[in-house]
Symmetry: D2
Subunit: 364 residues, 4 copies
């Protein structure tokens, strides 16, 4: 099948997440990266494009117009800029009829989110959000199990995403814009809290109705949240909790999800990403692996560890299917709804925390 | 050394925790069980005493008086009755000058707790509370590490105690009185929440200043809490969380403690009770074992698993040392203060939850 | 039920395994230790007896005669001397009609083993061997699963017992006699290899027909084996391996057993002694716990870790049952046959290794 | 940097390892696959090439000549055929001056291996062998630690590679040729035993001097080894063991390596491929992660799991460096010597097993 012609906004030399998206696009041979506005700095943009051997642009608006006009123009674009720079390029490409694959969280502000949602609604092109963890095979199997009723009624949901890399003040490029409220919009809750939120929502199929949040800035002098504890109430009566931290010393990337139902429980941890523990109420725990993953979201036999990059690639390949006309798996790709839900999560946590933890409705 | 002559109140035939206390007392050969008021039912009390070959009493008041009067009377008594029956016998024996080893939580009500505290203050005998988990060797080492400053400033404290055994209505003897507010005083927060609270307090040396709680009765028709999520604020600025559940299907006894400081972190789980994970900020995690436990709270070399009963026995043997005049380790045995703190925890969670999670001061 | 009156030979002040046996005897309240010849040094023997408050003897022969003559004499005796001193006292007590509970391995030489076996055959008293690991609940469940056919035909058996405590020359009392061929009879293969051998034999119900062994003395200057690799052939066509080491630096007590059948597999590790991994051929691994142990060899609910001492106590309590007339569980207590099998294992490994690994028949 | 122009022999539609090599080549954007003789069946070869959009050949000899003659001809070729078809194409491309990246084991017979080694010696092109596991970051760090002397003298080496997928007769394409002695040359020892052998050799820097092997065909009717237990003697006095099985029911891909030195130990398992346990003699075990990997053989921060495909890609990218003139990491890429060593391992195990386990010299 013809590779999808792909562009990229952001992701110039030295950028972390841009390089990840490029690997994900390459992994299964479904994309050809051909154009990019890789930096807001024109010189860096051109140099980075030259290094990758692709058409370089200094401006994403210009790029959207030019690529839309070419016969061999890009069919999709990856947006891998900092959060506050998601909405504008995404809207530009959507308006130009080019599919958008956007990094999370959706935007830095609710206003940007609404504008972007309007653009998605108005466009004939599609919008995808790279909540990569939800494309891991054992997460897809977790979702299938709950959807099949294997847990009975979901009663308790516990998600954690704890890291230690911001335990001190840092001047790395990645750390710097994340700590600036005007560019990031939110701290830990935006950067990784939205992953935990989306993962719980994706797997359970339920969005919490309200929450009570305690946002903290643990590192002295930091002006943005670096730790958050959030209690959740579901309309169903289920209860939940999210713990997010970027000052949990020694935690490299501690994402986990535990769900307890009336009949069985599920437990998953990113650091054991190929295992899903399923425990029925009256029997021993079972260690499910890809041998049990009905979505077959992998390239190698069970026991040959796949991980973070492969999860990202699962998303990219699903998107390629959709672009090539196969929408079989469209419903498992996060899109604008997941993005709006994440923004509602951020808004509700900030509102609740500002009111000393008052229970606050989540309004996606 | 002469074994300590021990009595017991509660713990008749078929009782769970009474049998545990007896094993703990026997383990190191430091006690001789010689008397008991093993049941509130006189016939069952006598039958149980006969079976154990000890002096039997039908009434703990009578027992306290009679034993205090004997030359070979008991030196200490274990109180292993349901929560609402802790205070009265404890006070009776303290008044009789007999040391008391009491199961947790302290009492069923704050009023009982205050009366008991007064009796402790007035008695020449000592009062001990069997928060057994805090006597495990790796927990003692965790406490020593924090006390030594190995974690720097404590920033985050996360304790969990989740079980699944009350996921359904149950008619077992153990389940029954625990689900009755008048006899238990509290549900999951009293039964196991106090363990989590005490463990965090014991290891960090800090008591949270205030908390915000969400108590739930997940199982339809249950009138007492079976799940609780509690956010903690420490006077130092540290934050914390406690999650307690008895409806977490498949969890046999999921007690864990994670503490993150400015310089290092600690992680411990009961199901890996012989391991303490210590992770310095800039180096790999280290799996500490009893080979690193400076308290030497064990009987066998590292690698020969000890566990729950040995933890209980550590407490009993420490108490025996104190009774025989060696107070070296007095400060590591939980007593009336730990009990009052646990009662303050229960009161604050109930008050906060009743006010929809309002932050509530903890007043031990 | 009346406690069994117990004596002890060896196990004086400072001895490791004697203290363990005493805890095991005390744990369930089934024994009263009343007499002992606790040391071959008469003064130390009397001092140790006085400290324990029991009748002291300087000589085990004298003790056997004297105790047999008393109305309140011991009913059973624990032999906890070094290997070369097992046979003589065991025979003396058996001849006196007193039950013997003997530490492993059976003896230091095949000659001693034969004499002891004759004494067992001739005595009306019983002989028990404390292969304690085989009394752990998950090991008993493993045996039940294989006996029930849950694994299909056993094909592969892999046992390991690796420790690091003899990685250097040591002058501890425990290390010293173990490194002396005349007192220990064998090195690592006797001390811990017999545990691995017995565990595999106990769980599978099969004794290997022949073996090929490579015994090594890794530490320079050591005259006894401290590492052994042994290949096994079973009459059934199954194959197996045993790896034993006492120079595996960092291994505290690495005993494990893995068994693969035509239909399913079992895996157990002492360091996770409460878990038994059962993996059917066509399904996910299951983590069995004491909730699945049909032998109910425990005192506390699943999730309350029991371990090494409780395993020992399981044996002692089973022996007490037998002595009190309940032979229900007689077949699960290792006895003279297990001891002779272990001696045959030692003899065959030494013979094979001396012939450069030639396959050698095992002749129990 | 210009991508390396790559060809492929074998790996047509449906082939397992060919697809893996293609992903590995794509992952880091260092290769462009442009030509292939993808099947020995001409029609399938052309169809597979067309599907991949590359130049298709029906015959690898023809391909070698034609590509060598083109200005834009391939610079390197991947050989991903069954074992008995490695030597002929590898020799053809080496003779044509084209670099060869060959799947393991080297060949099906010692004769083929010698011819291939001669061709490597005579060619100006280079030869690489894809022992992919040795390119995982924690394995590279393990090698660096031993090379640095962190373990002291290596004393014990234990490697395992156990799988369960051939526990029954199978008619899958992958299973079929592997079970045919004429095409595979060896069974489990060739397919996965060579991985274990190479991993131990790579990490320790030592090749065993002699071995004693017990090869088995466990599944009734199978004519090739499916289980092997091998004892190793090193010239240094170190001892070792390799256990290989393809009938270990429930094991998906159980590759592990444990090394014990005089000062410290290392432990690594593929199923926890991102962790390397380092245990110094007198301190706690340390869980090394990519944060400690000095080779920086990864694309993402520690905690973002990489695995099997990334290990393969590490090799491919190292090879691309060499082809582009950067030989910094040449010594960490397995080549003809690793291949010959693996063949010597196979030959020695077969010879030893045929002589009932007689110790047999390994002659690479």
């Amino acid at each position: 099948m013809n590779p999808v012609r792909l562009g990229m906004v952001g992701g110039g030399n030295g950028a972390f997440i841009g390089a990840i998206h490029r690997i994900a696009a390459r992994m299964d041979g479904r994309y050809a990266l051909v154009a990019g506005a890789l930096s807001s700095n024109p010189e860096r943009a051109q140099a980075s494009a030259a290094e990758l051997g692709i058409r370089g642009y200094s401006d994403f608006n210009e790029m959207a117009v030019a690529e839309a006009a070419r016969d061999d123009g890009i069919e999709a674009v990856s947006i891998v800029t900092p959060n506050h720079m998601h909405a504008a390029p995404a809207i530009a490409f959507l308006n130009a009829g080019i599919h958008v694959i956007c990094d999370k969280p959706l935007t830095a502000t609710p206003e940007q989110a609404r504008e972007l949602a309007d653009a998605v609604a108005a466009s004939k092109a599609r919008f995808f959000l790279t909540h990569n963890y939800s494309a891991l095979p054992m997460i897809r199997e977790a979702r299938a199990l709950i959807s099949d009723g294997a847990l009975g009624t979901v009663r308790l949901v516990q998600a954690e995403y704890i890291q230690g890399w911001l335990a001190d003040h840092s001047d790395s490029k990645q750390a710097e814009w994340r700590a600036d409220p005007t560019r990031a919009g939110a701290g830990a809750i935006g950067d990784i809290g939205t992953h935990a939120w989306q993962l719980a929502e994706y797997v359970t199929g339920q969005t919490p109705a309200s929450l009570s949040a305690e946002l903290s800035s643990i590192v002295p002098g930091r002006s943005i949240d670096d730790d958050a504890r959030i209690a959740l109430r579901y309309a169903s009566g289920a209860k939940g909790g999210i713990w997010v931290s970027q000052v949990a010393v020694g935690q490299e990337n501690g994402l986990s999800l535990r769900i307890f139902g009336s009949d069985a429980a599920l437990e998953w941890r990113l650091q054991r990403s190929e295992e899903l523990i399923f425990t029925p109420k009256d029997g021993p725990a079972r260690i499910l692996t890809r041998a049990q993953d009905r979505s077959q979201s992998y390239r190698t036999p069970p026991g040959h560890p796949e991980g973070y990059l492969e999860g990202f690639a699962n998303l990219y390949s699903d998107v390629a299917d959709v672009i090539r006309g196969d929408t079989t798996h469209l419903d498992r790709i996060p899109g604008i709804q997941a993005g709006l839900s994440g923004m509602a999560f951020i808004a509700a946590t900030q509102a609740s925390s500002a009111k000393d933890g008052a229970w606050t409705q989540v309004s996606p």
